[in-house]
């Protein structure tokens, strides 16, 4: 465990502390009050234990383990996507090819090859998938097949792989937390934002923000979530990221807004497909796609936020 930066270990310990506290509260609440959603809360809590244990183990183990875990998350998310979306039987070989994209994309991360990482899915896969689809010479439904596959790969593979690329950022000046600190920051704040939006929304209610796509979401939930996450970002950021001051506050807000948009995007997808939860793999959370929906947006947005301020024209380190 020597290679794990001290602040990252502290962050992991705090997350486990928070989880233990939540467990005690929910168990006590179940013992004294009869709430309708108690079973649902317990299932969510169990899932959180599994997710956090797996994630912490991967982060503590080494960079390769973390990349493999995130690659597996992409696989599960893409599988859920492709099970929801209409597909054509003739495209079976194309779907194999699409699955092959997942390990290759994470291989670029493992290789620290930023150029390939950033063009592989948007350019190469885009070109190749279309060719592979028309080779089967079934032109009826071509656009729908190609569009569906590429959209799914962009959301579940390309976007999510940005979380992993945090671990491959070069020459990062982040004493105390290293590149793992940035990944921890992203994941902790994204998940915290989900919880904060849920709690603010439930306790205040009020006008709905997007009644057509996500009838459960309110302006109070959204604004309360953004404020909570921005403040949390401001507090945590100096320990886990190279940012300070206004950059910390903005980092939290950026993750909160992107997380919200990711959540709504997956909701829109599910509404279009006429389902509620995308699979039952994670009890109480729906599927992997439901749990990591916010991360599909917050990962690339926060990644490019970091990239801009660390290496961009307004580089903090230069």
């Amino acid at each position: 465990m020597d290679h794990v930066p001290e602040n990252v270990l502290t962050a992991i310990s705090l997350v486990f502390g928070l989880l233990a506290l939540a467990t005690i509260l929910i168990v006590l609440k179940g013992a004294f009050f009869r709430a309708d959603d108690h079973g649902e809360l317990v299932r969510r809590l169990k899932s959180w234990w599994v997710i956090i244990c797996l994630f912490s183990a991967a982060v503590v183990l080494d960079r390769t383990a973390a990349i493999i875990l995130l690659c597996f998350v992409s696989f599960l998310a893409f599988k859920e996507f492709i099970s929801l979306a209409p597909t054509r039987r003739v495209d079976r070989p194309v779907l194999f090819l699409a699955y092959l994209v997942i390990p290759i994309q994470y291989f670029w991360v493992y290789q620290y090859w930023y150029g390939m990482f950033i063009v592989f899915v948007p350019v190469w896969v885009f070109l190749i998938i279309s060719v592979r689809i028309f080779v089967t010479s079934e032109t009826s439904g071509f656009l729908r097949a190609a569009g569906t596959l590429h959209w799914g790969l962009m959301l579940t593979v390309f976007s999510l792989s940005h979380a992993a690329y945090m671990l491959a950022l070069p020459k990062i000046d982040n004493p105390g937390a290293g590149s793992v600190g940035l990944l921890m920051f992203l994941v902790i704040l994204t998940q915290l934002n989900d919880v904060a939006q849920y709690i603010w929304g439930r306790s205040i209610g009020g006008p709905k923000i997007l009644p057509k796509v996500s009838p459960g979401k309110t302006w109070a939930g959204f604004l309360g979530g953004v404020a909570t996450t921005a403040v949390a970002g401001y507090v945590i950021s100096p320990y886990l990221t190279p940012f300070d001051g206004l950059h910390c506050l903005a980092a939290g807000a950026v993750i909160a807004i992107a997380g919200f948009l990711g959540d709504v995007t997956v909701s829109a997808l599910k509404r279009d497909m006429g389902v509620k939860d995308s699979s039952n793999l994670i009890p109480g959370h729906g599927g992997v796609l439901d749990r990591f929906d916010s991360l599909t947006y917050s990962a690339p947005v926060f990644f490019h936020y970091v990239y801009f301020f660390l290496y961009g024209p307004m580089s903090l380190t230069a």
Binding site: F75, L76, K79, E80, I82, S83, L84, A85, P86, T87, R88, R89, R92, L95, F96, Y99, M273, G274, V275, S278, S279, N280, L281, G287
Partner: protein
């Protein structure tokens, strides 16, 4: 020995494949049997059907699960026959009626408290969402053992994952709908109609994405 191999094979190979590579979306899990005897009835699109159904129940019930399978197909060579009999635990039945009573093995298993897995379509049908005609085996078994519950299950997606003639399985999430158990004693002459009604209702109610 064979039991231990079966246990290990399901624990190390089949369950991870079924739950991680494929992923099941089970409706009404609580309706599944917790003990034998019983008859699980399902539609048939893929060799994976049997393995998925066997993974739905707890591992301790594994030795009690007996898929009913065609003798001419699964006993066609010695290696496959050994695997089918010892690891999967099939009850081979003849499709061509050479035996005096092709269902004798099924009665024996039910009387020993086992849970049969039966595909009344008789063969892997056309995937997905089309149901072949049911053969009479279920009805005869249920009539002769009227107290034994029949558990109807509808599987969707396995014909996409591993259809007839495929070499590699393609990962998709699979839907498993478990119906309410029926006994012949309660339903009498309506038994077959009620069984079929479950399948037609599930096909209509489930919003399955297109695959053609």
């Amino acid at each position: 020995m064979a039991r231990r191999l079966q246990f290990l094979f399901f624990l190390i190979v089949i369950r991870p494949v079924v739950y991680l590579l494929i992923g099941l979306n089970v409706r009404n899990w609580q309706r599944l049997p917790s003990c034998g005897p019983g008859i699980i009835v399902a539609n048939h699109n893929s060799h994976l059907d049997t393995l998925v159904l066997m993974s739905l129940l707890p591992l301790k019930l594994l030795p009690k699960l007996r898929p009913v399978a065609a003798a001419d197909y699964f006993l066609r060579n010695r290696m496959l026959a050994w695997f089918a009999t010892n690891i999967i635990g099939i009850i081979p039945i003849s499709r061509h009626g050479e035996d005096s009573d092709p269902l004798a093995g099924c009665y024996a298993a039910l009387d020993a408290g086992d849970i049969l897995i039966l595909f009344p379509e008789g063969t892997r049908g056309e995937p997905e969402g089309k149901l072949g005609a049911f053969k009479r085996g279920v009805q005869i078994l249920a009539r002769n053992r009227p107290d034994i519950p029949v558990y109807p299950i509808y599987l969707h997606g396995l014909g996409k994952i591993f259809p007839k003639g495929a070499i590699l399985p393609l990962p998709f999430c699979c839907d498993v709908h478990v119906g309410s158990p029926l006994t012949h004693k309660e339903k009498g002459d309506k038994f077959m109609a009620m069984l079929l009604a479950f399948y037609t209702a599930t096909l209509e109610e489930g919003q399955f994405p297109e695959w053609r």
